[in-house]
């Protein structure tokens, strides 16, 4: 039975895509790609949009079958388990990263002293609740929060627009294209957010021009994020490496906001809310993966286990975002290439097979 409308699915994909991209990503990419960071972002978005397109096609062609059923059909039970384990591990790191980002955000911007457990318990409770209640609850919740987030981001960006010069970063490609490619490779983890969309196969009510609508909104968001990063780099120039979370820093030090005093609270709320949303989607996917792997009726225990694993990992990493960013640049982004390739392959298999079946049916 479908749980999500096309609109809700689009929102879920947008929340996933935007997740960390207005926070720690712009700074990390700038560290590796320098002034060409903007091109790195555009390049990586092409890969992300391709994955969104393929997943949409799979969803469209398999309206009543979920991911696990499709995997079992095409890759045998053993293959299905292996793929699910890979996806589970990848999404677990995504969830862990969002958790680290959120905690660091609170610690840096909002609290003088913030105990991890005080953060983790309420956070896991709410995110766990949304994930446990399922795709329908998440979809509807995101519909309500969407306008708040959109308005928040637009106000924040608009407040800095008058300080954009469009020339501060020129000339581009002084050192060739290698910095851009290096940045692209090392930041790919941020662009694997569309992979969890696989877990929504068979749960979306597909309407007319489904893929077109999803792709159009994804491209729109990609352009928006790219434009934001461009403005951010242009306003901050060579001071970008000293920033931590793009949107919040952007809002905090904008002269316009300083005049009004503390309008940056809006961006703070927006940042936190969208991270809550993406965290709940990741946890939902972990719950679905766990549920299918262990053959449970409810996703409660897989979600609980995922929370415990994430909490232990975060504690081992001491909630240190810098360590996490180091792992992203040196290991996780390379792993993302593999997971992306895997997603593309399975999406093509699911799409191609269905098309063949449809042709047979017509004959």
């Amino acid at each position: 039975m479908t749980e999500l409308s096309s609109r809700q699915f689009i929102l879920i994909s947008l929340y996933l895509i935007i997740s960390s991209k207005l926070m720690s990503m712009p700074t990390l990419i700038f560290d590796y790609a320098g002034k060409e960071a903007i091109f790195t972002i555009a390049l990586n978005f092409i890969v992300e949009i391709l994955i969104v397109f393929l997943v949409c096609e799979v969803i469209k062609r398999n309206p009543n079958t979920n991911l696990f059923q499709l995997l079992k059909q095409k890759f045998s039970i053993a293959g299905a388990y292996i793929i699910l384990i890979i996806l589970y591990a990848f999404i677990l790191f995504k969830f862990l990263f969002v958790l680290q980002e959120l905690y660091t955000f609170f610690k840096e911007f909002l609290y003088d002293d913030f105990m991890p457990i005080v953060f983790a318990l309420p956070m896991f409770f709410v995110v766990g609740y949304l994930a446990f209640k399922g795709a329908r609850t998440m979809g509807r919740t995101f519909e309500i929060l969407f306008w708040f987030i959109l308005i928040g981001i637009i106000v924040t960006i608009a407040s800095n627009l008058e300080y954009v010069s469009f020339s501060r970063l020129e000339p581009y490609f002084e050192n060739g294209i290698m910095p851009m490619l290096d940045g692209s490779l090392k930041s790919l983890f941020y662009f694997g957010n569309s992979i969890p969309l696989l877990f929504f196969i068979g749960k979306v009510q597909v309407t007319q021009k489904f893929t077109t609508k999803v792709i159009a909104s994804t491209v729109g968001l990609a352009l928006f994020i790219t434009a934001f990063c461009f403005i951010f780099y242009d306003v901050y120039g060579m001071a970008v490496p000293y920033t931590l979370f793009a949107l919040s820093d952007f809002a905090q030090y904008a002269p316009f906001i300083l005049d009004l005093q503390r309008l940056n609270w809006l961006s703070t709320m927006v940042d936190v809310t969208k991270l809550f949303c993406s965290a709940s989607i990741f946890l939902y996917c972990l719950g679905q993966a766990g549920k299918n792997m262990v053959k449970l009726k409810s996703s409660f225990y897989p979600i609980l286990v995922s929370i415990i694993i994430t909490y232990v990992l975060a504690t081992l990493l001491n909630y240190d975002l810098d360590i996490m960013k180091h792992y992203i640049a040196n290991y996780l982004s390379y792993a993302t290439i593999g997971v992306m390739a895997l997603t593309i392959i399975i999406s093509l298999v699911f799409s191609f097979n269905r098309r063949k079946n449809e042709q047979k049916f017509i004959q």
Binding site: L110, L145, C277
Partner: protein, 483 residues
Amino acid sequence: MDIQKILQELKQNFNETSDLVTREFSTHSGEKVAIVFIDNIVDQLLLATSVIKPLQNLNSEEKADLADTAMQQIIAFSQVKEAKDITELTENLLSGFCGVIFENSQKILIVQCVKWITRLPSEPPTSAVEKGPREGFVEDIMSNLTLLRKRLKTNNLKIENLKIGKETNTEVRLIYLNDVAEPQVVKKVKEKLQAIDIDGVVDSNYLIDYLQSRKHCIFKQIGSTEKPDVVTAKILEGRVAILVDGSPIALTVPYILLEDLQASSDYYSNAGRATFLRFLRLFAALIAITLPGIYVALLCYHIKAIPIKLLITILNSVQGIPLTPLLEVLFIIFLFEILYEASLRMPRYMGLALSVVGALILGDTAVQAGLISSPAVLIVAITGVMSYTIPEQSNQISFLRLIFTILGGLLGIFGIIVGVVFLIGYLVNLDSYGAPYLAPFAPYIKADQQDALMHKPANQVFYRPKSIPNINKRRQKNDRTKQ
């Protein structure tokens, strides 16, 4: 028929109650007749002039059955019927009927000459309007049905009778438009009502617990109103209304949260103004819920986030206050709730004095004594007033205000965000007879946005809301489709 035997049996059925009145007399031709009724619920003057006196004057020389003659020619009441047995007679006596027993006939007649004490429809104190109908429901179900029938002059209006309560035998009416309401919803409501096995139903609010799907939920899941125009509008949208005898409050299902954001006056005023007022109500409700929590969070954890001029003002006020910001705000909220509760229960003439004492003397003295600060009083007072922009949700808003204050005090702004996300996640899960609680916002229903926060003029609303299950979507002909 043995009159004495029947009367004896009736007295036993009523446990020798003192208000069961029996009167025996003879017709002009000497045939014995007995009248039985319950005192105070029967119009005795009408009974004497339209039943007793004509029967006493009856000079029956024909061989025809006296009961038949009385029913067809003598008794001048619109509702006269024959009781099949003593049980039926007993039930009808309880509903204000009068029993007529004839010695020489096997039939017992029951005559409706009920006279309940009731008040005239007046403007409900809970839903006063600036413009629009001022009639409100009363405690008498028949008067309430009249008010609805007056507005819905259609043969599609279906009224189903139910009796609930073993001891109270309360009359309940299920009202809906046969060609609009979703049959599944009607069936479900009816089944739930029929399954009720309670000793008594004193007010329609008794039924709410049986009708709502989530038993321990603080949020309203059943619509309620005292205004017939509101019930009429809801029935027209495909909802089912429930009227209970003895209660001026009509219940309606399915219910969505948006209903309380809309006021009946929105439909009697300019559409632009109505839209503005709806946004205002929503804004006020959100502020009422979160402002005390945000204030406490800012003072406890994020004092740097407060603009400097405001910070200086607040710090000057809170200096020397013995309570923490959380305890201080909680103390004022409790004080406010106590004053509210006391002013509701106090005799009306004392209520004004109490509010003056509460608002002016207590608040002012507490601030001057340095027990509480004036910004905290101001915030609780503002949010208290704001919570009544949606009066039907004021209880829920008060409760949430308390929760958000505690969250803000314990976790700071993180707590407020956690609370907001959880609250939305919880509310989107609620469902009332197939209508999503936060519809048409979540799930987003584009067609229903014409009368959600935005309010389009009536001549532009062509369809019934999709959020509410119904079987007839069209409200009026769309001019554009005609062209």
